[in-house]
Amino acid sequence: MSAASVQASVQASVQASVDAAVDSAVGAPVSGRLGDSPVRPDGVAKVQGSFAFSGDLSADGFLWGATLRSPHPYARIVSIDLSGAWAINGVEAVITADDVPGKPTYGLIDQDQPVFASEYVRYVGEPVAAVAANHPDTCRRALEAIRVEYEVLEPLIDPERCVDGSFPPIHPKGNVFRHQRIVRGDVDATGDVMVEATYEIGMQDQAFLGLEAALAIPDPGGEGVELYVATQWLHEDRHQIAACLDLPDEKVRLTLGGVGGAFGAREDISLQVHTCLLALRTGRPVRIAYSREESFLGHVHRHPARIWMRHHATSEGRIVKVEARIVMDGGAYASTSSAVLINAVTHVQGPYACENAVVDGWAVRTNHLPCGAMRGFGVVQACFAHESQMDRLAAACGLDPVEIRLRNAMQTGDRLITGQVIENVAPVRECILETAALPLPDEPVGGHDGDPMRLPGGAGLTADRSHIRRGIGWGVAIKNLMYSEGFDDYSTARVTLRDGVASLKFATAEVGQGFVTLAGQIARSVLGVDDVVLEPIDTTVGSAGSTSASRQTWMSGGAVDGACRLVREQLFAHVGAVHGVDPLRLAIAGRDVVDTMGDLRVPVAEATAGQVFEDTFEHHHRPTEELDENGQGNCHTAFAFVAHRAVVDVDPELGLVKVVQIATAQDVGRALNPLSVIGQIEGGIAQGVGLAVMEEIVQIDGRVRNANFTDYLLPTFLDMPDVVATLIEQPDPMAPLGAKGVGEPPCISSTPAVVAAIRDAIGKDLTRVPVRPSDIAF
């Protein structure tokens, strides 16, 4: 198999995108098939600003909704007086927990999160009431007029107090979401060398640009409701919303509003139930749109974690045993904490073979912001720890960082510490070697032209070349794809072929990843058509599952592919009957149906004229199992791998960093749309760089101090390194199209690679991300 059939050297993302688009258009007889990089159907509108994001939704006579939130991390609600709000002219509804007709709580795994707080508030920002009014200013005044009396309680902010049980439960379900142990092999095994340290990962925000927004339109008589919302999983939202509204699922109809990024933050319910309740209560359309500050409070984040690890190895650097203790702060409510924890404990060995392990992990409840899904889902935290450990181990064994990783690289057939055998293509070695083969930046510190903006400190002109030291660091990762632990994960697609046009219907949330592009490519390839129509993305077809876990290319791609194949069978049966040919002899070649054993050649457009072929397909991935009490079991579906090498320039005195280049080789199975893959790689690296050097939600005594983009910093163009990428294309036999998910791996090991490079530059032991200037300077 070819290790690297596509290589994209990307100096500037925009240029790369343009080049790739042009390359793929040249010489392709029918563009837009699998392997091409056609222009996104929503691309021009997004670039020109005419794309309707969910924040742009409106309806005749709609009301504005707004949410009253807790000012305290932990308090008992003594009383709520709504009379002041009701007295304001223009206020049409004021609702609290008392107004929730159905289930008072929601949640993806454990429904422990109140629609509105009733007895206690458990984090700053928890919804307490909501209003609907004729104007946002009226809403604001109404919220100010609601009187809530709180008995303020001491907040639980130290996760260790959940583990040791020393803090009284802050929720009837207790302060531990889940504890999972992994015990494998010889727990007493030791090696010649042992390295250990404790690592910390701060709370990262998904920071999508399109803020939470929804529009709910009630049915006449209030028998149902239609909700337009930016989400990652329409059907799961519907199910949770319907339960809270006490309506049957089919009475709640969801349509995807334009999504401006998600990264996991739209997997949980935020404003959905509130918007629907207000609409049903007032009988009028209601729109809620969060501000940036509210968005920080209103969605789940990446779990902060504290991870102790100890590696035992032979003097040649072969890992004998890994030990880990992982504590993840899940904040006030469960969300997906238990699944995030499982990902962390089962990935803490990294992409390295290891026979023996003792791992203990806790996901706990505190009075911090709730945490849940974010790109990388528990593996980001584990990877920062295991990759930091690999460098420590390399130093202890006198090996270089590449060599230690090659010596331990896992391969297909190896067992994980859960006992699960890796059945996927596992090109860990190739990822490392191909990354190492990519050119280091040829530019000296500060760039060829000596532009001081390219030094650490950038526009601040803080440094001269002589102050700067350069470093190189590595990160390699394993990431599970799709859902785990026995979940029957599936996606549905319906395909209609009529007059040479394929119409595709699915509920797959397009959150920017480009499934709307890929779906058309699949249909063109399988059905030989040029024209593909995408029907609205809504709940009038079966579930597609969540746009998360790097799963939609595999799952919804599998569903569209499956439905297209069923339709193609109908087409072949029809052509076979008309022309007296055995349908089994028919195939698609270009735009035609051809007889592989004869001369028959009928254009698809002609063969489908006046005909309608339609079918629906559900793609399920193979079953998985739960872990037993020793953390053993085939809990994951599939795996992907990636390597990153970072080059950074550091100003040791000021602690400022400029990431110069990230080289990466990623195991993608098959690049169905190379431009989209590069887009995921660059975007993921930006997020990984952000966690490495700047992105953190700061909470002090349970209060968020930086719920805005003045102080929650995201990388700018000047912070983004050049990205040089190689795609390792070894089609995975388990994947419907041979393609692995590519969304998460780029952000996982890019973070430890950057930190390792900083360590290399300054020789300091950095154990926490994001690395702050003071961590480097002192």
């Binding site: 650490p456 102050h467 102080d711 163009f717 002192f778």
Partner: protein
């Protein structure tokens, strides 16, 4: 909300005289953030960003001064011809936000907000700028050092407008450096301006984000002025060290969610050393490291 869009200085001052409680709006890059965030209310607004007089600037070579109207934007200040007259202010301007922000953000707005992190302000402090204020029927000049009385607090009276600032056009190196946690578009964790005036044989050093207002470092300035050879453009390298330490000692930083007092003081020491070494390159210690 009533909004008066003034086109002349008279119109602006008349509007403020009629309604002294009105809020002045220039580029709006501070004000709109505060209004949208609900941190500030404005019953009425007088917009001054189209006032001709405030949008202009004047170089008086005879007096050796530059007068900058309050509504001159940072985009203009970052470019020639203003950049050549006050290079440090141009450097500071280039660090303000993003190109879009700089197109709207004015020097008067930066002065009016009086944030200790305002990027233009350490330069104005180092240059001993004069702030010109006007109300209907009266004008007054306030030394920059007396203009801000605390974080976001100034001597500006209701009904009063900042019309501009005057800075000297000096001969000698001047530079501005800003430390933030991101390489662009970031609020200063610490910032510093160093300006040499060969004519008066002085070195001026001012610091941002390390006190309630912009601070000068008189002791450090004296150390540098005494040791520098202004004609040769050199300074003994051990003085660079002392200068940094004295500058750090003059800072009055605090701990907050953005950084720590210790880091901010360190940053000032480093910036002071590096700026002095840039001003007197021949005397800089090799490598510049401590």
């Amino acid at each position: 909300m009533s909004v008066t869009v003034a086109l002349t200085l008279d119109e602006a001052l008349t509007a403020l005289a009629t309604d002294p409680a009105a809020t002045v709006l220039a580029g709006g890059t501070d004000l709109m953030v505060e209004l949208n965030g609900g941190h500030r209310r404005a019953a009425s607004v007088v917009a001054v960003n189209r006032v001709r007089e405030l949008r202009s600037w004047r170089h008086d070579p005879a007096a050796g001064t530059l007068w900058l109207g309050a509504a001159v934007t940072y985009t203009e200040i970052a470019q020639e011809p203003i950049a050549a007259l006050v290079p440090a202010l141009a450097q500071a301007a280039r660090t303000v936000g993003s190109p879009q922000i700089r197109n709207a953000a004015t020097l008067g707005g930066n002065v009016g907000t009086a944030s200790p992190a305002g990027d233009g302000l350490p330069v104005l402090a180092a240059l001993d700028a004069v702030v010109h204020l006007a109300s209907a029927g009266a004008t007054r000049d306030v030394p920059f050092a007396e203009f801000a009385t605390g974080p976001k607090r100034t001597v500006l009276q209701p009904g009063e407008l900042i019309t501009g600032v005057t800075v000297p056009v000096l001969h000698g190196y001047q530079g501005y450096s800003k430390v933030g946690v991101r390489n662009a578009m970031v609020i200063a964790t610490a910032s510093a301006c160093l300006a040499v005036d060969v004519a008066s044989r002085s070195v001026r050093f001012a610091m941002g984000s390390v006190g309630p207002v912009i601070l000068r470092a008189p002791e450090a300035e004296a150390i540098a002025a005494a040791a520098a050879d202004f004609d040769a453009g050199t300074i003994p390298s051990e003085v660079v060290e002392r200068f940094g330490a004295a500058a750090g000692a003059a800072a009055r930083p605090i701990d907050d969610h953005r950084s720590t007092a210790a880091y901010r003081r360190r940053a000032i020491e480093v910036l002071a050393r590096r700026l002095l070494a840039r001003a007197f390159p021949a005397g800089a210690p090799i490598g510049g490291d401590a």
